[in-house]
């Protein structure tokens, strides 16, 4: 199901940019959309159909609630399944996070301890979801602003063990590991070395901001030079892999956004 001919730098397609994308039709290997924004049927679906005619689409979800103690939301997964049957995304991903607990929704991506019991419970949920969707999903590493005493292992160990147990793939967010390095001193180069390269099937890059002295993964700035360097190193060890440049805040013009995407791609594929 994973198509590595989609290598190159795609974009996260926000509703703000969709009309201009359809008008200008920039040269892109693919686009990624937040699937949750498209779950309610309406005339906006016609726009996504037109996008799909032009580009392969990847679905990035925010509602699977993978690491929570709450059971999976079958209605939500069925909605994602219906949407994917309609638009045929080349892959579907969500976050290794807690989005709701005990029926209370945070509307945020909350961290969790890196523990054996959470590996097991999350793997069970992923297994159930993959059976419903009839495909493997990708699970994304988070930036986090809290560390748990209850953690029993490093984050990359958690992700690697989980991916093996659940037989799922990894969406490797380089800005997130860099933000965690800046805040907690966790070496991103070592993370890149230790993550299971065979299971990484997509990369995310974005820009961070400093808010009250903390680096925050806001997707609100250009991609930092350190993250671009990390991307170059990642490409060397991971091989060709779809890369998504995410921008969600302090939005530039569509032209500027596409220009930056081109610059990242040129940096990535420039001869050494």
């Amino acid at each position: 199901m994973i198509d590595n001919s989609l290598a190159g730098v795609g974009i996260n397609l926000r509703l703000d940019y969709i009309d201009e994308l359809l008008e200008k039709k920039p040269n892109l290997p693919f686009v990624e959309v937040i699937a949750d924004n498209w779950l309610s049927f309406g005339p906006h679906h016609k726009k996504l159909e037109k996008v799909r005619e032009l580009y392969p689409i990847s679905f990035h979800c925010v509602g699977m609630n993978l690491c929570s103690d709450d059971k999976i939301d079958s209605k939500y997964i069925d909605s994602i399944k219906s949407l994917s049957e309609r638009f045929n995304p080349f892959q579907i991903s969500d976050h290794l996070s807690v989005q709701a607990l005990d029926g209370n929704y945070f509307h945020d991506l909350l961290p969790h301890p890196f523990s054996h019991s959470i590996i097991k419970s999350t793997a069970n949920k992923i297994d159930e979801i993959q059976n419903i969707l009839k495909r493997q999903i990708l699970v994304e590493n988070l930036s986090y602003y809290h560390q748990f005493e209850e953690s029993e292992m490093k984050e990359y160990e958690f992700i690697n063990q989980l991916a093996e147990l659940a037989d799922c793939h990894i969406l490797f967010d380089l800005n997130n590991i860099w933000v965690n390095e800046m805040n907690y001193g966790i070496c991103s180069e070592n993370f890149l070395k230790k993550i299971n390269h065979d299971r990484v099937k997509e990369i995310h890059i974005a820009g961070a901001e400093i808010i009250d002295g903390i680096y925050v993964d806001t997707h609100g700035s250009s991609v930092n030079e350190s993250v671009r360097t990390l991307l170059k190193r990642a490409e060397a060890v991971l091989g060709d892999c779809p890369i998504v440049y995410e921008r969600d805040n302090n939005l530039p013009t569509f032209g500027e956004f596409i220009k930056e995407r081109v610059q990242i791609e040129e940096m990535l594929y420039a001869p050494a």
């Binding site: 103690d69 939500y76 607990l101 509307h107 019991s117 809290h146």
Partner: protein, 158 residues
């Protein structure tokens, strides 16, 4: 149970808004109410409106994965406030705000005069000759004009 509950429970307490996660939660839900209840802001004034949003966000947990559904109880919350006892119409205005935001295909029944009042608040028109009659109910629906733009239309029940 695999997760340490205290971390997640503390976020919902909203007692330390210097905490990143508490701040995120507070801001996203505050902004959602601010965005939806436009006529309420006009009638209460910005400062009072923000006060009631603050109190509501601290009290009302989000029970839907869809953030756009947060605030469906805001109308009932406002009508429960002693400070707003004399403003019985605020509940109806809030219901209409949410109905308009939701762009529901269903209809809503509200006292005669609320739609007129709401329209004048939203469009910043002079608030003269507003008559609200709780004994006469109007069925309000969202329709589309020739350009495809939505508007509210009312028909009277007795």
């Amino acid at each position: 149970m695999h997760l340490p509950r205290s971390f997640y429970d503390d976020i919902l307490k909203l007692n330390d808004l210097t905490n990143v996660y508490q701040r995120n939660y507070y801001n996203s839900h505050f902004t959602q109410i601010e965005k939806v209840f436009l006529s309420c802001e006009k009638v209460l004034g910005v400062d009072n409106f923000k006060f009631f949003i603050d109190q509501f966000v601290r009290l009302a947990k989000a029970e839907s994965p869809n953030l756009d559904m947060y605030g469906q109880d805001f109308a009932d919350y406002l009508s429960s406030r002693n400070e707003l006892e004399e403003m019985g119409y605020i509940k109806h205005l809030a219901k209409l705000d949410f109905f308009w935001f939701e762009q529901s295909s269903k209809s809503i029944e509200l006292p005669f005069g609320i739609l007129d009042f709401w329209g004048k608040l939203i469009n910043e028109k002079e608030l003269s000759n507003i008559e609200i009659d709780e004994d006469i109910m109007e069925t309000i629906s969202i329709l589309k004009d020739e350009q495809g733009d939505s508007y509210l239309s009312a028909s009277c029940l007795k």
